[in-house]
Every structure is written in structure tokens, then in C-alpha cells.
């Protein structure tokens, strides 16, 4: 069974002393699949990734990557993985080109044309020292080194962090190309929107536990957005709490905050009875809506069982 998965975690658990990193993670990533690994900061995403790469050793359970044991087969395995660290720091003070040449040589040689092609794609100047680069450019160097040897598995920790929107789109295109080439991608993120665009499935972690694994198609319907309305005068929360699709209403003086599931119309009609100063509507934030949905529903399930 193990060799059927590109990544397989079985009851994977890591405690740092008493502090929980990840607990009881059981998850399989199919070969050729793009899996998003979602969760708020501190949920255990990076811990999981470091376990897969054998930087950390599990407290319990085990991981199998490309059918190999991360510890015993480290040498073989790391030649077949492209890894982008979440906290990206580069060894040495050399130019990007020299650093990439070293990383390429270490992996048994990478065609230089492949490196320059990726650098062009990401609009990255390889002649500059990596240390002097902006966060976004460092991230591009990180991406180039992860993709350049065309590894069977890409493990990317917060890959779009620091990239501007145009480069984020280019990165997503690189992920699509990787999938088309049969590579497996396991990428962590705390932004639902970017993962939605490329992933086949998403796994959601919260507080060190796997909350859900879903196909991406079934995610879109849960588009709950958060809305904030600033009125000229204080308003009564009761006016808004009962509206269809409106939830989590909080009012502090003239400012109303709530979530809206579905159409905005009922809320707008109700708000129009007052003088509106400002209206802010944000894309659903993963932390606020999607994750809390799973978190609360899980919690509710436990409560029900406890009561029965």
C-alpha cells in the first residue's frame, strides 16, 4: 500500500516537549496530484513538512515519501524532492547564480538552461547576491531551486509568500506545468484562494490536527465573506442578526461586523435604512470562515457524542 502514495503519513505525531506540533496525522497524497495543505499559522503545517523531510523525527507514527523512508533513504529521497522552506534563508553570501549552481551540482547536475528559463519566467536577476535581495526575489530563488531539477515531488512551504500578484499567477502556472509533467505537489498555505486555483484536494489542519480533506470543487460553495459596515450613528445588532445568510453579528458603536453566506442583498437593504459611511467586504478569510466551520462542526460532533 505504501508505494501507491507519493506521500503517506500514518498517525504522524510530533511533540516538542509538551507542546504539540502535529498529532495523529493520517494522510495520503496520490502521485501526480497537487495537494494544498491549509491551516492558520501555528497549525502544524511546517512541522509536518519537516517531518516528511527528516529534519524532525516523529514522536509517534511514520511517514513514507515516494515509497521511501525519510530517514533511512534520505540521500536517495532528497535527490527526488524539490523543497522550498517556509522560513527561507540562504547559506553564504554569493550571487544567486553561484548558489543555484551549487545546489544543482549537489543534486547531480542540473542543465543551466533550465535554471535560466525558470529565472526568466519569474523575472529574477541571477547576478545579484542573494543576501541583498528583497523578500520577493529571495522567494523566487527558493522557487527556482525547488523546481530546477524537475523532482518527482515538490514540497513547498508557503510558496507564494512575498510574491506580488503577477508572480503568484506565474507560480501557479509553474505548479500546473509540474502536474502536467506528472510531478506531485504538496504545498502549504494559509490562503484558500491560491490553493483553490491549482490544487486537486486540500487537507486542512487546525491546532495540530487534521480537520478535513476535501476535493477543491466542493470548497467553492462555502464562500462565506466577512463584511464590515461603518454607519454614521450607532446601530442595533438585533436589526441585522436575523437576516438570511448573515451570521456572527457584532456591533461596537457605529461599526457592524458580520459574515455573509450567499447573496449580500438582504444585508445591504437593511443597512440602507441608516446612513452608511463605509462598507468593506473581504474575501472569505480561511481562519475566520472556512477553518472555523470545520473546527466548530468537529467540536459540535464531539459534544453530541459526549451527550449521548
Amino acid at each position: 500500500m505504501t508505494s501507491d502514495y507519493a506521500v503517506l503519513a500514518e498517525d504522524l505525531t510530533k511533540f516538542y516537549g509538551p507542546r504539540r506540533g502535529i498529532e495523529g496525522l493520517t494522510l495520503g497524497v496520490e502521485p501526480g496530484e497537487v495537494m494544498g495543505f491549509l491551516g492558520p499559522n501555528g497549525a502544524g503545517k511546517t512541522t509536518t513538512i519537516r517531518l516528511l523531510l527528516d529534519f524532525l523525527r516523529p514522536t509517534r507514527g511514520r511517514a513514507t515519501v515516494l515509497g521511501l523512508d525519510p530517514r533511512r533513504d534520505k540521500a536517495t529521497l532528497h535527490g527526488r524532492i524539490g523543497y522550498l522552506p517556509g522560513e527561507l534563508a540562504f547559506p553564504g553570501r554569493e550571487r544567486a547564480a553561484d548558489l543555484l549552481r551549487f545546489l544543482g551540482d549537489a543534486r547531480g547536475g542540473v542543465a543551466w538552461s533550465r535554471v535560466t528559463e525558470l529565472a526568466e519566467r519569474l523575472d529574477l536577476d541571477l547576478t545579484r547576491p542573494v543576501r541583498a535581495m528583497s523578500k520577493g526575489n529571495k522567494q523566487k530563488v527558493g522557487l527556482v531551486q525547488a523546481f530546477m531539477h524537475q523532482p518527482a515531488l515538490l514540497v513547498l512551504d508557503e510558496p507564494t509568500s512575498g510574491l506580488d500578484p503577477l508572480m503568484q499567477q506565474e507560480f501557479l502556472a509553474m505548479v500546473r506545468d509540474a502536474r502536467a509533467a506528472g510531478q506531485t505537489v504538496f504545498m502549504s498555505s494559509h490562503v484558500l484562494a491560491e490553493v483553490q486555483q491549482v490544487a486537486d484536494r486540500v487537507a486542512i489542519v487546525r491546532d495540530g490536527r487534521l480537520a478535513a480533506v476535501e476535493r477543491v470543487e466542493s470548497l467553492g460553495r462555502r464562500a462565506v465573506r466577512s463584511v464590515e459596515i461603518h454607519f454614521a450613528d450607532p446601530v442595533d445588532p438585533g436589526e441585522f442578526a436575523g437576516l438570511p445568510g448573515v451570521g456572527d453579528v457584532t456591533v461596537s458603536g457605529p461599526v457592524l461586523k458580520c459574515t455573509v453566506d450567499g447573496r449580500l442583498d438582504p444585508l445591504i437593504k437593511a443597512a440602507a435604512r441608516h446612513e452608511v459611511v463605509d462598507l468593506l467586504s473581504a474575501e472569505p478569510d480561511l481562519e475566520e470562515t472556512f477553518l472555523s466551520f470545520y473546527y466548530h462542526s468537529e467540536g459540535a460532533g464531539d459534544a453530541t457524542r459526549a451527550g449521548a
Partner: protein, 262 residues
């Protein structure tokens, strides 16, 4: 072709290495080339300093060539410089990249953990050895040139002792870094051991009751045998080499077992 990691380690350390090599070379050349001019002054200095102080500084006499060489290059500043070089550079093998985050991209190289640690230390170890051998190479030229009457084989014995001493402390520094991943830890622990064992050796020479302390001190195995007067002492030198080797092996094993970058 050397492993990419070894070449990378040298490249990252090249400035520090050049600096240390230049510093050690300058120190060796400046001190020894004063030999002739120093002869008169040495007599005064010898008389001015109390005997206890001279013993503590590891200076037997400053009048003979061997005494002068021992007092200048081999007693305090020479070992101090080289140990600082060895400890700070060895702290770079594992502890520093682990602290500043560069470790992850180094460690994803397709080699085993043990091979990784071994290659890092091999690179730094050879570089540090080269710096530690600078006095040796220079003294082979300077000693005859300034007319010091010491057989070169004895100078070699002392100079090799310096290299072996550096190996010993490189091993200790590597062990601390590989086991803890803390740069401050490497500098503090290894520095404290160096200081404590230096004092142990110095004190043991002065107070008879504490004579046994010297057996615990790497400095005793390096210079306590008085190589400039008595030549090679393979057994003592072997102790230093063995200590370096044992700490290296322990470091590799512990690095292989622990979590990285927590």
C-alpha cells in the same frame, strides 16, 4: 571532483580563512624575526618577571632559542589565535546555519545526515588545519634564517603539536555544535574548556599537589613534553588526535539522531 558541499563550505569561509591565515602568519613572522634584536632585552625581561609568572605563562627561559620560540609562538598567543580560528570556523559547520536558517537548503542535499556532517567537518577541518600549519611552514624558513640554534625536527614536533591541539579543540567544538545546534553554545562551552584546561596545565606546573591536573589538559599533551628541547612525543600527540577523532565521531552520531532547526 570534491563533493559540492565541501566546495561550498570552503567558498563561504574563504574570507574568514584568508583573514586568519594572514593574522597567524603575521604573528609568527613578527615575533620570530625580532629574535636577534630581542636577545639583550630578553635578559632584562627574564629578570624583571617573577619565576612564578614565567612558569604560569609557560616560559622556561627566554635566553635560549628554544625558550624564546616557546615563549613567543607556542605558549599563549599562538595557541590562542589558532583555537579562536578553529572554534569560530567550526561553529559554522552546523550551529551557525542552523541558527540563521540556511541549514534547510544545505541539508536537502542528497546525502545522508552522517555524510552531511562529515563533509561539513572535512571541509572546515582541512581549512583549519591549513591555518594551523602556517606557523610550521614559516618556522621551517625563519628559524634557520634568523639563526636560532634548534634542530628543525624539534620545531616540527612543536608545530605539529599545535596542529594536533587544534584538531582536538575542533573536535570538541564540532561535537558541541552537532549536538546542540547553538552557536553561542559552541563558543561558550569550547572556550570555557580551552580556558579551564589551559589553567589546569599552568597550575599543575606550579603546585606539586595539583600535578595530576595536567593529565586532563590538552595543553599538556601539546607543550608539556617540551618538544623544542626533547623532540617528538608520538604517544602524547596521539592523545590529542584521538580526542579530536572521538569527539568528531560522537558529533556525527548525535547529529544523526536529533531534530534539526527546532
Amino acid at each position: 571532483m570534491l563533493p559540492a558541499l565541501v566546495r561550498k563550505t570552503w567558498r563561504d569561509d574563504r574570507r574568514a580563512l584568508a583573514g586568519w591565515a594572514a593574522g597567524v602568519a603575521a604573528f609568527t613572522v613578527i615575533y620570530t624575526s625580532f629574535y636577534r634584536r630581542f636577545q639583550g632585552a630578553a635578559e632584562m625581561k627574564q629578570d624583571a618577571l617573577p619565576k612564578g609568572m614565567l612558569d604560569f605563562l609557560g616560559i622556561a627561559d627566554m635566553l635560549s632559542a628554544a625558550g624564546y620560540l616557546q615563549a613567543t609562538v607556542f605558549s599563549l598567543i599562538g595557541p590562542l589565535l589558532l583555537l579562536m580560528c578553529a572554534i569560530t570556523l567550526t561553529a559554522r559547520t552546523i550551529a551557525r546555519p542552523e541558527e540563521d536558517g540556511g541549514m534547510e537548503l544545505l541539508l536537502v542535499n542528497p546525502v545522508s545526515r552522517r555524510a552531511f556532517a562529515g563533509q561539513r567537518l572535512a571541509a572546515t577541518g582541512t581549512a583549519v588545519t591549513a591555518v594551523a600549519a602556517v606557523p610550521w611552514v614559516l618556522l621551517m624558513v625563519i628559524v634557520p634564517a634568523v639563526g636560532m640554534q634548534i634542530p628543525l625536527s624539534r620545531v616540527s614536533a612543536a608545530a605539529f603539536g599545535l596542529v594536533a591541539l587544534v584538531w582536538c579543540f575542533t573536535g570538541i567544538a564540532f561535537l558541541v555544535g552537532a549536538a546542540t545546534g547553538g552557536r553561542g553554545m559552541v563558543l561558550a562551552v569550547t572556550g570555557a574548556i580551552a580556558l579551564a584546561t589551559y589553567l589546569a596545565n599552568a597550575v599543575s606546573g606550579m603546585a606539586g599537589a595539583w600535578g595530576w591536573l595536567r593529565w586532563l589538559s590538552p595543553f599538556h599533551y601539546f607543550i608539556g613534553t617540551d618538544p623544542l628541547h626533547t623532540g617528538w612525543h608520538p604517544a602524547e600527540l596521539l592523545v590529542l588526535v584521538a580526542a579530536g577523532a572521538a569527539t568528531t565521531v560522537a558529533g556525527v552520531v548525535l547529529f544523526d539522531r536529533r531534530d534539526i532547526g527546532v
